[in-house]
């Protein structure tokens, strides 16, 4: 019985491993080049293109999402996207995604820029930080793991905290 209790307790918190990792330095310095992120798995021929980055590596990592939230302010994304509500740029906390909602799509949006005003941050934001921003942007509509969602920030309240928002099912609204 004691064993059961202990195991149950461990199981209850065991899901925390992935959420709490702090991978400070993942890119080897000397050979770090931009990861190839492709937005589709379709390809001609037999061999798929060498590609990585289909997953949002920080989707289940609370620290990564938190860092993404910090970087969102640092890099002035709020200048156009206003903490997710939009302004000059489209809102990020709703379910409408012009250029796609997959992590690879969001990555490419940030790195390549998009028509109608989204700047390209290629060579300006390292890949690991872009993935943190991807995870944070996904969290704005509740699309990361529920216990990795950020809560209120230490600023004036601008919106419901991310972990209190209703999760949205994303839809692509731009041209297919």
């Amino acid at each position: 019985m004691r064993v059961l209790i202990v195991l149950a307790a461990i199981a209850a918190v065991s899901s925390g491993c992935e959420r709490e990792v702090r991978p400070f330095q993942t890119l080897p310095v000397a050979s770090a080049r931009a990861q190839r992120v492709v937005e589709t798995t379709l390809h001609p021929g037999d061999a798929p293109p060498p590609a990585t980055g289909q997953n949002s590596p920080f989707r289940e990592n609370a620290w990564g999402v938190g860092e993404g939230k910090r970087l969102f302010t640092y890099y002035n994304c709020s200048g156009c996207h206003a903490n997710g509500g939009g302004g000059m740029g489209p809102p990020l906390m709703d379910d409408k995604w012009i250029y796609g909602y997959e992590p690879a799509n969001i990555f490419q949006t940030i790195v390549e820029g998009r028509p109608n005003g989204m700047p390209s941050f290629r060579n300006k934001i390292p890949d690991q930080q872009v993935w943190m921003l991807v995870a944070y942007v996904q969290s704005m509509s509740g699309n990361v793991r529920y216990d990795a969602l950020p809560s209120r920030s230490d600023h004036m309240r601008y919106s419901t905290p991310e972990n209190a928002r209703r999760a949205q099912t994303p839809k692509q609204t731009g041209p297919r």
């Binding site: 019985m1 209790i5 202990v6 307790a9 461990i10 209850a12 918190v13 065991s14 925390g16 491993c17 959420r19 709490e20 990792v21 702090r22 400070f24 609370a62 620290w63 999402v65 938190g66 860092e67 939230k69 910090r70 529920y146 216990d147 990795a148 950020p150 809560s151 209120r152 920030s153 230490d154 600023h155 004036m156 309240r157 419901t160 905290p161 972990n163 209190a164």
Partner: protein
């Protein structure tokens, strides 16, 4: 059946797995609390050893910053919340009913509940340590660092909820101890005749009752900020980070006295027994304990001298922090006077008490230096403070506790601990402690701040840190020696009689270990030193019901019998309620819905727990009314 056999049957301790979970007996729960608290002590001690390895040399890479931060946080949290307070309460749970002549502690099922809540909280913290989700924000977890912005994930939530676990457990035990001490004393034990250890537990329990709610409030506000987005500590929306500090330290300062005051009671017990004289200055010692308890609530801002609060207020807290040295000083003088006029027997418990005086007085004096605002502004948050609080906590609480372990081990287990090993144990611990912590005063004065995972090689801190780390090795050896002594004595130690030390308090007036009913007939107390002042034809209480768990209730001031009450027997519901409580607490870390949903099973368990039973429910049906009688009988 003889009276003893009847009582044995009535007060039985159930066996088997279900029995282990349903026991409502204070000695069993007290032993469990002691063993569990010591297990946490060892775990936290290992963490400290890891810290000292990391700090032995500059720029060490043994532990990275993230792991080091988790380790020092869990070390502090575990020591303060899972070892120091529970172990003192555990000594109270085991010894207080015996010392006041009762058969069981008041509210025994609550006792069981509190143990399982404590155990679940501790297991939760250990599990977080193993799963990279241990809190990493320091044992007092200041905001905004512990707030949602700067500690993402669930680490700080586990810290805050651990507070809730341990405070619920501690409050429950405090309530039981107060009720036992006030209402379950043996007839004739007036307030004036209560042993000093019992006084210390009484003061501690009142301090727990008044201090714990503040920290539960502070940690609950933190949980709410982190989970549901309140703004208690968010200055941008009208909150204040200093609110957390005030709430925490309003508890945090009394907390250290909660830990320290029972140790003072143990010191008085040991000195009385090992000088074979009544203690000098009983009244002064009691008043000093009470004064410490009161004044302890007025000092908390001395942890916040650097926060920019107004100067006049700070000087008030300087004065209060210095005033509290006076009752402590009175106690030290009374104990030295007791040692002066008694005939000391230099056995292990007394050695630990002497070690306590040497170490604690140094710690208390470094505390007086810290009370001075200008000086504190230089040494606050440096290793000087680390040295100070280890001197007062280890010297002031752990040394008396180990002395108490050597002293009461025969009573609890029926075997004597080895005295020679004990003396060596004392020397190793005393030397190891001083070698570890004295150089930290120097490190702090040389500018080394606290909570640093490493330090540069050119600051001049290398030697003192290396010496501290080597001393820590000695402490590990001393700790291992203590465990060795406890285990081998438990298995093969010399059998102890009822009163191997010729002590004066009531717990030594029954067998070692005590029977399940504590005393065959509850004794009547005729003086302050119950066993020394007992005549051969001393009265005992007879005539009570022996076939159900009946206890005599006496009044608060004079110990006059007032009525009898029936105590509950073993039941599974406290354990079930504790499990549901733990599920609710842990669930509320992840979702706020756990609170409304989680209270339903708890309510059901509580209803089943308190379901009224007919009198004599636990053992047979009542046959006749009984009237307890005080009569002289050779004991």
């Amino acid at each position: 059946m003889t009276d003893a056999e009847l009582l044995e049957r009535t007060w039985y301790v159930p066996r088997g797995v279900l029995g282990w979970l349903s026991v409502a007996d204070h000695r069993t729960i007290g032993k469990r609390y002691l063993v569990t608290a010591f297990a946490f002590f060892l775990f936290a001690g290992v963490l400290a050893g890891l810290m000292r390895i990391q700090l032995a040399v500059p720029n060490n890479r043994f532990l990275g910053p993230d792991l080091y931060n988790q380790i020092f946080t869990v070390h502090g949290t575990m020591m303060m919340f899972l070892f120091a307070v529970p172990v003192m309460e555990a000594m109270g749970i085991y010894l207080v009913p015996l010392m006041v002549g009762a058969r069981n502690i008041a509210f025994p099922r609550l006792n069981t509940y509190s143990y399982f809540v404590f155990l679940c909280g501790g297991v939760m913290l250990v599990a977080t340590m193993l799963l990279n989700t241990a809190p990493d924000v320091g044992w007092f977890s200041y905001v905004p660092l512990a707030g949602p912005d700067y500690t993402p994930g669930k680490r700080a939530d586990f810290w805050a909820q651990l507070i809730t676990f341990t405070e619920v457990a501690a409050l429950a035990v405090a309530v039981e101890l107060v009720a036992t001490i006030f209402k379950l004393r043996a007839p004739g034990m007036t307030l004036n005749r209560i042993p000093l250890f019992v006084w210390s537990i009484l003061v501690m329990s009142f301090m727990v009752i008044f201090a714990m709610p503040a920290v539960v409030t502070g940690s609950s506000f933190l949980l709410m900020d982190r989970l549901v987005g309140t703004h208690f500590y968010n200055p941008a929306e009208g909150g204040d980070p200093l609110l957390f500090q005030h709430l925490f330290w309003f508890f945090g300062h009394p907390e250290v006295y909660i830990i320290f005051i029972p140790a003072l009671g143990m010191v008085s017990s040991i000195i009385t027994t090992f000088t074979q004289r009544p203690i000098f200055g009983y009244t002064a010692l009691v008043l000093a304990l009470i004064a410490t308890g009161f004044i302890g609530f007025g000092l908390w801002v001395h942890h916040m001298f650097a926060t920019g609060l107004p100067q006049l207020g700070l000087h008030y807290f300087t004065a209060a922090s210095i005033v509290i040295a006076i009752p402590s000083g009175v106690q030290i003088f009374c104990w030295i006077a007791s040692l002066w006029r008694g005939r000391p027997r230099f056995e292990t418990p007394l050695l630990f008490v002497i070690g306590f005086i040497i170490i604690f007085v140094l710690g208390g004096l470094s505390g007086v230096t810290l009370a001075s605002v200008p000086f504190d502004l230089q040494v606050h948050d440096t290793y000087y403070v680390v040295a100070h609080f280890h001197y007062v906590l280890i010297g002031g609480a752990v040394f008396p506790l180990i002395g108490g372990v050597y002293y009461w081990f025969p009573k609890i287990t029926g075997r004597m601990m080895d005295n020679t090993v004990g003396i060596v144990n004392f020397v190793v611990l005393f030397v190891g402690f001083n070698v570890t912590f004295f150089p930290m005063h120097q490190a702090g004065l040389m500018g080394m701040p606290r909570r640093v995972y490493t330090y540069p090689a050119d600051m001049g801190w290398n030697t003192v840190n290396l010496i501290s780390s080597l001393g820590a090795l000695l402490l590990v050896i001393g700790g291992a020696m203590l465990i060795y002594n406890m285990v081998t004595s438990y298995l093969w130690g010399a059998v102890a009689g009822d009163n191997p030390w010729n002590a004066d308090t009531l717990e030594w007036g029954t067998t070692s270990p005590p029977p399940v009913y504590n005393f065959l007939y509850p004794p009547v107390v005729e003086g302050r030193h119950a066993l020394w002042e007992r005549t051969a034809a001393a009265p005992v209480v007879t005539g009570g019901r022996l076939d159900c768990r009946e206890c005599l209730v006496t009044d608060v001031m004079d110990g006059e019998p007032s009525n009898k009450t029936e105590f509950p027997g073993p039941t599974i519901w406290p354990f079930v309620a504790a499990i549901f409580t733990s599920i609710m607490f842990i669930g509320s870390i992840f979702t706020a819905w756990a609170v409304p949903i989680g209270t339903v099973p708890i309510a059901i368990a509580l209803i089943l727990w308190f379901w009224p039973h007919a009198p004599g429910h636990d053992i047979g049906a009542p046959e006749e009314e009984s009237t307890p009688v005080v009569e002289a009988r050779a004991s």
